[in-house]
Amino acid sequence: MALPPHQDLIACPHCDTLHVAAELPDGARAACQRCHAVLQTAQPGALISVVSLAVAAIVLMVVAVSFPFMDLDVSGNHNATSVFNAIAAFNTGLAVPLAVAVALFIVVLPVTRLLAIIYAISPLLRGAPPRPLARKAFGLAESLRPWAMAEIFMVGVTVALIKVADLATVTLGPAFWAFAALVVITVFKDQLMNRYAIWEALDKATPAD
């Protein structure tokens, strides 16, 4: 049996079963026959939403790192803390590498992913050919996905708030809300981002040589 040309085949990223790619109607999704992993989705306008959400998330991240995150008040003694303070909390001895890891997880890697996605996808919106490193950038954004932990940080913050609630009065700063919004936006963006659709779009926009 002759296989269709390889551009028309999809190997399931999970179990390697080969499928023939189909032109999906808008809003439809295609799943693997063997393991039911989602292979393709067709969402019109997904690319522009992904880029705009990524830009919004970067703006919010700037706010989140530059303003105070929370303020602690125990009978007149104040301590305002920022995201940087939380990173710098691990500033003694063996804990220093942990400060680096926390900085990577909650600020550096999320921002790297956002920038890589904007760099890779934004020219496609104008119908321009992809930038020279677009493929590398998008591959990087995909491989960093599990290591960007902004949403986990927010859950940690909630737990910490409850722990100090009866010890002191805590006031939430603007950075807290910016960070919370950032997390929601990132989740929406990742939901909209279909790997296969974006690679297809990159391929279509690349001039044949």
Partner: protein, 181 residues
């Protein structure tokens, strides 16, 4: 010999990573070893005017229960104890079943792998709690909270088990299956 590369993303192509299981076991064992000090040593060092206390991961959960914060206690317990332990068992089971070329429960094992990959990173919650508390509660003599050594080993344990899960090539689950259509 050159490496075959993907025409689309230029990633190196490899049918199966022959050392996948070795990497899985190596990272997994490192993760399990670090999980021990993570539970024995204190996660948080708390100084107040009246007392100086240290609390471990489990101690922190017990404190929360005493403060009647049951929901939060449950989140911390699940994220810091149940998920890591469950992950160790799940990864070991997946690796063993692939080594034995098991053909049963392939769908369930694949699901299990997806769950492990998805849920592992959530164990980091407790590390972030320590980071925030240590940054926030710095009121000179009145009260201060500092991170303990367990925070470092716990974070490393989580990172190593994430590497372990990522080294597992889920396609190996299906390799024993030669009858599928």
């Amino acid at each position: 010999m050159g490496t075959a590369r993907c025409a689309r993303c230029h990633g190196a192509l490899q049918s199966r990573d022959t050392q996948s299981l070795q990497k899985v076991w190596a990272w997994l064992i490192a993760g399990v070893i670090l999980f021990i000090p993570a539970n024995i040593y204190p996660m948080l060092l708390t100084n107040t005017l009246v007392e100086k206390s240290e609390s471990t991961i489990l101690g922190g959960v017990v404190d929360l229960v005493h403060h009647h914060a049951y929901g939060i206690a449950a989140i911390v317990f699940v994220a810091s104890i149940l998920i890591p332990l469950g992950k160790f068992l799940a990864i070991a089971y997946l690796a063993l079943s692939v080594q034995r070329r098991s053909v049963i429960n392939m769908h369930q094992r694949h699901k299990l792998y997806d769950v492990v990959e998805f849920i592992g990173r959530w164990s980091m919650i407790d590390v972030f709690v320590v980071a925030i508390l240590s940054a926030l509660v710095q009121l000179n003599t009145i009260a201060s909270i500092n991170p303990g050594i367990a925070a470092v080993s716990f974070a490393l344990s989580v990172i190593f088990t994430m590497f372990s899960a990522q080294s597992f090539d889920a396609r190996m689950i299906w390799d024993a299956d030669r009858t599928a259509t």
